[in-house]
């Protein structure tokens, strides 16, 4: 049963990802992106990583794309924006990305089929505890580096925001 669910979720992920890049309406494209993320979460769940699946929904679908949608709402894109997008996204534009993605796809296919040590996904359950242990164990350096990066982003955002507030106060 898990096998069939994988094919269904994978098919939805690919179709909605395709729709996400071809839609003219920014908010529709974002909804397709959310569907892609949700189906990837289903795949994570089927692979025995429920924690990763939950985080995929909480962080990517629930926070990051919400912020994208937030910006789309702030810009108040209407029908004119859709028209403009249609003028920009001519069929010729797709040629080079399609060639590059196709090449990548072929390389991936060769790598997956021809490798001697076959990568088999065993489907062992990886619960929250195991994820926590490995994050604070072997991958501690990555966590610390991410923390530094986030702190830098926080300081930067504070700096930009403060300048804007002070300018307004002077007026």
């Amino acid at each position: 049963m898990g096998y069939w669910l994988f094919w269904i979720a994978g098919g939805i992920a690919i179709l909605s990802a395709f729709a996400a890049i071809t839609r003219m309406n920014a908010s529709h494209a974002l909804i397709y992106l959310v569907i892609t993320l949700l189906s990837i979460a289903v795949i994570f769940f089927l692979l025995g990583a429920p924690f990763a699946a939950a985080l995929e929904i909480v962080i990517y679908a629930g926070a990051i794309v919400v912020l994208f949608l937030f910006v789309v709402m702030m810009l108040n894109l209407g029908r004119r924006a859709v028209e403009r997008e249609r003028q920009w996204l001519l069929p010729g534009i797709w040629v080079i990305p399609a060639i590059m993605a196709g090449a990548l796809f072929i390389v991936l296919g060769i790598a997956l089929s021809g490798s001697e040590h076959e990568a088999v996904i065993e489907g062992t359950m990886v619960g929250p505890k195991e994820v926590g242990r490995s994050l604070l164990g072997p991958y501690i350096l990555g966590v610390e580096l991410a923390a530094v990066l986030l702190l830098a982003a926080l300081v930067g955002a504070f700096h930009l925001g403060r300048r804007y507030i002070e300018e307004r106060r002077e007026k």
């Binding site: 049963m1 898990g2 309406n25 908010s27 529709h28 909804i31 959310v34 429920p50 924690f51 699946a53 939950a54 985080l55 929904i57 909480v58 679908a61 629930g62 926070a63 919400v66 912020l67 949608l69 937030f70 789309v72 709402m73 702030m74 108040n76 209407g78 619960g127 929250p128």
Partner: protein, 319 residues
């Protein structure tokens, strides 16, 4: 994981039960608010006005279900479905009794957080698709409010997770045999209640739909059963947050043995819901910037501090 077991049979009763409870709650809230405000409230239809809820449903179903021609038709229809659907999905992990639970997974708490973060889409899309400035402002406000309060809604629960050592709600309840978590995790409880109010955008924090600033906020353009679905979603959210407060902080189904566990659970949930209604009657609405600065400047540091202290105490007790 995919074996068919009897817990699937619980899905229908829980979905129906939650919807009927949401319906009755609409009447109950109006009744209790009337009592708090020294007036009668709806008391004409049926016994003490119970059938008022049914009358409201008949009215909503038979009303003209209008879709604004100037808006985005698909997203407009999708939005209420997301609002109600995400809330119903969360009930999957709520344990009503030691064995009355649809899915006892080890990510139950994260599942609840994931579903409540998906509920934001319903509100945002409703605001966006209506193509109406009040709806848009309401949608923007609620997106900012819900994303903000989600952050420390999750953080406030980490103390509970540390004490019980699991994300599974069943394990959380079983860890409260000796002491309910409302005592050691009082700070977490307060933060969770405030965050829960903001997530369900109920009255002290209902700025996304503040009626005298934004007409009705994100659901200004909604009518008929689509409006009904949004309202059902909001009341389902209230029931859900109350259930989680009971499960996480007040021992879930635990109680003296003369009543079965789910009855204790029900009693506690009703008490928490009444507390939320009392809050609605008692506290005025803050300004939007006050709401946001309360979140980021007070509740976020407080919940981080709570995690730090809880973690230190847990380690100290273990050694």
């Amino acid at each position: 994981m995919f074996g068919v077991d009897w817990s699937y049979l619980l899905i229908l009763p829980i979905v129906l039960g939650a919807l009927v409870a949401a319906l009755v709650l609409v009447w109950w809230e109006r009744r209790v608010l009337g009592w708090f405000q020294d007036r009668l409230g709806p008391n004409r239809v049926g016994w003490f006005g119970v059938l008022q809820a049914l009358a409201d449903v008949i009215k909503l179903v038979t009303k003209d279900d209008w879709v604004p021609p100037f808006g985005d038709r698909i997203l407009f229809i999708l939005a209420p479905v997301i609002v109600a659907g995400a809330m119903l999905m969360s009930f999957v992990v709520v344990p009503l009794d030691a064995h009355l639970i649809i899915a006892d997974t080890n990510i139950a708490l994260l599942w609840f957080l994931a579903m409540s973060s998906l509920a934001v889409y319903g509100v945002l899309l409703a605001g966006l698709a209506s193509n109406n400035k009040y709806a848009l402002l309401g949608g923007l406000r609620s997106a900012a409010q819900m994303v903000t309060y989600e952050v420390f809604m999750g953080l406030s629960l980490l103390g509970v997770v540390m004490l019980s050592g699991s994300f599974s709600l069943k394990d959380v309840v079983e860890a409260q045999e000796e002491m309910w978590f409302c005592i050691p995790q009082f700070v977490g409880l307060v933060i969770f209640v405030i965050a829960g109010l903001a997530e369900t955008h109920r009255l002290p924090f209902d700025l996304p739909e503040a009626e005298h600033e934004l007409t009705a906020g994100f659901h200004t353009e909604y009518s008929g059963m689509k409006f009904g679905l949004i309202m059902a979603g909001e009341y389902l959210a209230l029931i859900l947050v109350s259930c989680l407060i009971v499960v996480l902080f007040f021992g879930g189904w635990l109680g003296p043995g003369f009543l079965p566990g789910f009855v204790w659970f029900g009693i506690k949930v009703v008490l928490v819901i009444n507390f939320f209604i009392l809050l609605r009657a008692a506290i005025p609405r803050p300004r939007y910037d006050q709401l946001m600065s309360l979140g980021w400047k007070i509740l976020l540091p407080l919940s981080l501090l709570n995690i730090l202290v809880s973690g230190a105490v847990v380690l100290w007790m273990a050694s």
